[in-house]
Symmetry: C4
Amino acid sequence: MKHTTIFHKKKLKLKKPILIEGLPGIGLVGKLAADHLIKELKAEKVAELYSPSFPHQVIMQKKGTLRMLKNRFYAWRNPKKNGNDLLILVGDVQAVTSEAQYEICGAMLDFFHHQGGSFIYTLGGYGMGTVLEKPRVLGSATHKELIPKHEKYGVVFGQSQGSIIGAAGLLLGLGKLRKMQGVCLMGETHGGYVDAKSAQAMLEVLCKALDIKVNLDKIVSRAKESEEFMKKMEQETQKQEKLAESLGKDSGLSYIR
Amino acid sequence: MKHTTIFHKKKLKLKKPILIEGLPGIGLVGKLAADHLIKELKAEKVAELYSPSFPHQVIMQKKGTLRMLKNRFYAWRNPKKNGNDLLILVGDVQAVTSEAQYEICGAMLDFFHHQGGSFIYTLGGYGMGTVLEKPRVLGSATHKELIPKHEKYGVVFGQSQGSIIGAAGLLLGLGKLRKMQGVCLMGETHGGYVDAKSAQAMLEVLCKALDIKVNLDKIVSRAKESEEFMKKMEQETQKQEKLAESLGKDSGLSYIR
Amino acid sequence: MKHTTIFHKKKLKLKKPILIEGLPGIGLVGKLAADHLIKELKAEKVAELYSPSFPHQVIMQKKGTLRMLKNRFYAWRNPKKNGNDLLILVGDVQAVTSEAQYEICGAMLDFFHHQGGSFIYTLGGYGMGTVLEKPRVLGSATHKELIPKHEKYGVVFGQSQGSIIGAAGLLLGLGKLRKMQGVCLMGETHGGYVDAKSAQAMLEVLCKALDIKVNLDKIVSRAKESEEFMKKMEQETQKQEKLAESLGKDSGLSYIR
Amino acid sequence: MKHTTIFHKKKLKLKKPILIEGLPGIGLVGKLAADHLIKELKAEKVAELYSPSFPHQVIMQKKGTLRMLKNRFYAWRNPKKNGNDLLILVGDVQAVTSEAQYEICGAMLDFFHHQGGSFIYTLGGYGMGTVLEKPRVLGSATHKELIPKHEKYGVVFGQSQGSIIGAAGLLLGLGKLRKMQGVCLMGETHGGYVDAKSAQAMLEVLCKALDIKVNLDKIVSRAKESEEFMKKMEQETQKQEKLAESLGKDSGLSYIR
């Protein structure tokens, strides 16, 4: 596999879909929100994305099988006649190099455009370094005219002049070059732990913006499950990597990998 | 050379070959097992794989000649009328970047598919950090239905939820996307030394799965030879690299390499 | 986006344009000088360059919108009948890998050649490690015959035998291979801070070389604004990166990015 | 420039040329030997090689001009009727990544093959970590049958089982895959300084092998010049790099490069 590849169902026929990106990032805020949305809306998996720029690893599952690292698109069909369908993007990882991020985000936008979509919400966390009683939802928009509408839903604009790293930023930046529009929503979060509270604040805002209703009862318990699973997998992986390295260092076998 | 290239004999005509991968990894468990299999079965070298993502080095041999770093495929023709032939993959190195691993594993699967194969065993070590009296053989399968059969041979499934790094994982992950099937066998091992005992445990299981018989007498002595050769080569290489670096640091000549 | 891309206005019709490069570098000397030139000359933005080798980030702007990292070309039309128009190149970043720098500089030269240009000034800083009362402007030329003329304007040649890193060097090196000519102007500077004084010395020389007049009154205040904006953005970005990393380290979630 | 490019004179018409590679490496032994050979034989520059994998820098020359980093081929026409012409390869740098080394060495072999050549000597240093009274010349050959002949000239084979890093190894490894032959000659050297004595020992052997005579009087003084020039350039370059970095660290401007 030399390029990012998206395997998808034929003939999705979505109604003016809105893309909602929730890949792993600071505080896992975006990931928790998007995963929760998928489960509560019972969205259907319609596409899988694989990339040679993802880590060269496969995940061992509890049931004894293995699977590739991937990103996934879920579709939710809006029962309202003129409502927008949703295409929700989640996954195990983001690529870590610039070239890979540009390539992968480009492939995602190709797919989204092909499904007839042109509006994007990206979800992320905004690290504050402190614990917050009432995390706000910060925003940054591709176009000025999107700001007033989203301020009404409670999004706070113009609070930060830093940069948005990864797919949450690039999907909007590259999308704008293709005449798409969108808003990056960032839940304020400590940054040092998985933050269900911030994800909840974000979902409240997002549901208003999308004009949908989603039950938030299970978000805390799901955040815990998600955190435990990921810690376990990460720790196991790190253990194997450390042992592999130590073999190299101690015995002079490092380069015969 | 810009891409991974496989030079192979024409018209191999293998009978439903099974791929067995044993490239260098944790404890060299997979490599020891696969090398032993090749020698005991007197398998014939049928293909060589070169890649620009392998280290930019050549190996000096004792007899005064040099050779490229490479991976090699050996074929064993099953004397049983309906038995599967084997295609055993071994080598000096694995690539270290994700993009290279995806490209090389893709080239390997192209070659294997072209030979008519669709079932893969990948062999690796599973680092425990402790010395084990009786190392078990852990497994992870591409498909659920492969588990019960392999449990009968003594493979233990579902014991780890980490990830499988490198070709042992990717060949199966990418193979699965191409409708291939397979099992990753991981011998439990300390991780900090070359482990013939774990390789032996793995071969016992693998021979059952393949329904073949292989004498295991020489595996310990071969492991020692293999370890000594590799340490020697690695130490020499590191020495040259350190001297090259020290020249740079001390005298300001580092960038004129 | 897989390659460096330049979006530009159609039919620029420039008169023998001279390229002036002032991307970020040591002491921001080149950037300050080029940005000042654009403002004082009221040069018009005519092209934007995007590259997958720029950091995978977007910039959040004060007004609540976001934008891609980019380089920009501004055109100034020389009112003199036979005077050269100017094409001034500025931007947020330079790429950090060799391959990317060669690709991007190649794309820039393609564009410049397409506009009918063949002479280049690149502007940079030359780090001295000490504070200088009267910073000189050092030069290095693509062709020997350019030296005497520029010595008359006060440029000092042959003072350094090091190398010029980045676009300031490569645009001239690659340009020379395409039969272009040019001079790299380097303002002497401490290196450890943003240096408006050095930028001023450089502009004095450059204006003589270009036979234009530019008011230098506002260069100090603009340098301060520029420094403050960039520090703020950089600090915010670093904060987010550190928080993202610390999450990984402390909780074992680093690889699920 | 996206790929390694060789600019060469048309219609070189060389007689069965032998390639002699002397790029920078341990102790600069190969570089000193090859540079000396070019000067004493008054070999003519016939080709220049540029690569986007070389550092993104240009070199400032004493006379006030700048030039690209490059590798160069020099041709020496053998006055003997049936003697082999020589194609001597020297340069400022080698690439540092595997992919780049494979690509560049491939381009070099394409060019050499195109000139009708098929035999290669690569020259390098072999770091010993100690000062040697009488440095030997170690060898490693592409083919066994080359060993006895070169032992007669004083080359010592089979003394090391490490690996040969960089172009000195890869040109022979990749050349062998193309049915070329050759020998890597490695002068024993301390490794921590520029070693004219080792280069002299190597040239004595090489001249025997090539059946040519070369005056060695000036090799020590040339080695000193070469060392001084390179130290100066390297130190200047490192100074600029450090100042550029320090600006980033202290003031938060690192990523706006």
